[in-house]
Symmetry: C2
Subunit: 366 residues, 2 copies
């Protein structure tokens, strides 16, 4: 086999059945037909997936490594996902947990164009952790969202992102919303002397996405929110490649509960494809990720890998100001903390509450 | 609340906890923030999701109906998926099992442009069941795939689709493959007097997809294979809308094991978005769908719904000629049977084996 990638699955099986099950996965994820019916020597030598290792990890689960030819991915994001998990996603006994890629993939996809360092530079943050909040609820008109954004920005946040539910709805069309919110954030920056960034949420097909990026750029926006599993990985990769001036924060919508390990999908894969920051549900909030999943996810996003820039972890999902010190102790300073609804619940005290959040992050001793 | 849709989930819970859990899902899938922090009366009245019903279905599961404002979807496919399951997909106690949509969605997305009747008409099939096979393994060059296609077409199949693993790889570039296979199928049709159709597999972003559709059309192809969960739903919808002359067969890659009920995703949703035929793993093959899931999926694809044309169910995944009578008894004649690897395993007897498959389907008495 020529250049190859290794895909790692956790498979529920008995010890007696695992070898055959692993071979079946290797075939399903490569030639998808009986190997004995294949005559072509090149296909047999170079294309049929191989079982590279099987490890009993206890609890009726095995860690299975499958080696696939890199050429089968065509070095295209959708086909990469297809090779990693396409048909096997339909099997309930298998979870996709990791991959090992040759450097060609880093060359092709390029990873974060700005990454941890670039995001910090944008907002003049030195080496400290960053702060973020979200504009919501959906249903508000652009003027109301702009007012919220202004009050958040006056509190000194680094980033204000749209809720991922803000798309291009009649009650808040993308173009009108971005113009209003960007102007409000600029006005607040003029007051504070700060550099708060607004990251609007993208939606639709590639034509719509391109028009939205153009609108954002026309309004001075340089950071965008994208949910790759909603937009489709191919569209996300195209956007990243076409807009090297833009930083991308990814959102985990449709990332699923268990079938793909979060550190792989939201950490490694989104980073590979160009996420500069990756939002994910922190442990102890509204979602069920464990502390160890969150630690692994942060490591996958920002640790050295294939020479790619680090992608900033953004733990979120029901976070509160009270948890800031604990979160900073857990993640260290290479993180962006996202507190959304908990800030908005402050009502008329929104700017003060935001300032408290920002101050708590800035003053934290590591 | 104005025009609305109902989303149905199966939730693992206790009787004591289910009401609060259902309310939490309604909030997560709509405003995603504490309701008490929302002041806007329009948002409270029209946008916050509502629990429409809770039913104990036994086994520690509850069937929960949530009503969402239709406007929140922006009538865009990605955002529709986001509203149906975006953040809630990350919760392991919830499966998305059904939805009820107002007619606006049918008007917007249009459903199958050709459907069951159109696919039959294309191949002059009257009222009988259709036949299909797949070109594989990936790794073969275009000439070898074309030779396989010719031998399959000489056996009298209705449709020959690319394996969903055939993308735009160096060893078999899309344009060269489509030209070679389409010519081979045409040559076979000239011999048999038949109307076998070739459905190439699409991949990449919308720019690439459009170029691939143009290549296909230039080669006289009028049927395409697409995996919406790989391409992204927005790209799939754009393709369907832009190419009313093309019929689309969908592939279930990345459909996941359990988090979205297959009848909803592969039946209803793909149909709504324009699938003319939907491939899915039949019971008793390589995948774990039960007979009742398959029956529900076929019903969701082809039964009367919102005035949309029927979408042809295509059971597949390790099927054999021996199972043809049983499958036709199970599904009736409004079906396309897909036998892939089992035919290819016939080696030099491929055309004869294919002819046996075709004859068995044609001669079946219902």
């Amino acid at each position: 086999m020529g250049p190859s990638l290794v895909v790692v699955y956790h498979v529920q099986s008995t010890a007696a059945a695992i070898e055959a099950r692993a071979r079946a996965i290797a075939i399903e994820q490569s030639v998808e037909m009986p190997v004995e019916a294949i005559a072509d020597p090149h296909v047999l030598a170079d294309i049929v997936g191989r079982v590279d290792g099987i490890e009993d990890i206890g609890g009726g689960e095995f860690r299975v490594r499958i080696r696939l030819a890199a050429a089968t991915t065509g070095f295209e994001a959708g086909q990469l996902l297809n090779m990693l998990f396409g048909n096997t996603s339909i099997h309930s006994d298998v979870a996709l947990v990791d991959f090992e890629l040759p450097g060609q993939f880093a060359d092709r996809f390029g990873g974060p164009r700005h990454g941890v360092a670039g995001l910090r530079h944008r907002v003049g943050a030195g080496h400290r952790a960053l702060t973020c909040s979200a504009l919501k609820p959906q249903g508000l008109p652009p003027t109301a969202l702009a007012l919220l954004a202004e009050r958040l920005a006056l509190g000194g946040l680094d980033f204000i992102k749209d809720d991922h539910g803000l798309a291009d709805q009649d009650y808040s069309p993308f173009a009108a919303r971005v113009a209003a919110v960007a102007a409000a954030v600029n006005a607040a920056n003029a007051v504070t002397g700060g550099a708060t960034r607004y990251a609007p949420s993208l939606s639709g097909d590639l034509d719509h996405l391109r028009r939205q990026v153009a609108v954002a750029r026309d309004n001075g926006v340089d950071t965008l929110l994208a949910a790759p599993m909603i937009l489709g990985l191919p569209a996300f990769v195209a956007l990243v490649a076409e807009n090297p001036d833009m930083a991308f924060i990814t959102h985990p919508a449709m990332a699923g509960a268990t079938a793909i390990a979060p550190p792989l999908l939201l950490g490694r894969l989104f980073r590979l494809l160009g996420a500069d920051a990756t939002v994910f549900p922190n442990h102890g909030g509204r979602f069920g990720y464990s502390p160890s999943v969150c630690r692994d996810l942060a490591a996958a996003a920002r640790d050295p890998w294939l020479g790619l820039p680090g992608c900033l972890p953004v733990p979120a999902g029901g976070m509160t100001i009270r948890r800031v010190p604990e979160m900073l102790d857990f993640y260290g300073p290479d993180v962006m903390l996202l507190v959304g609804g908990n800030l908005l619940a402050a009502g008329p005290g929104l700017t003060d509450e935001t300032a408290t959040f920002v101050r708590t992050v800035r003053q934290h001793g590591y």
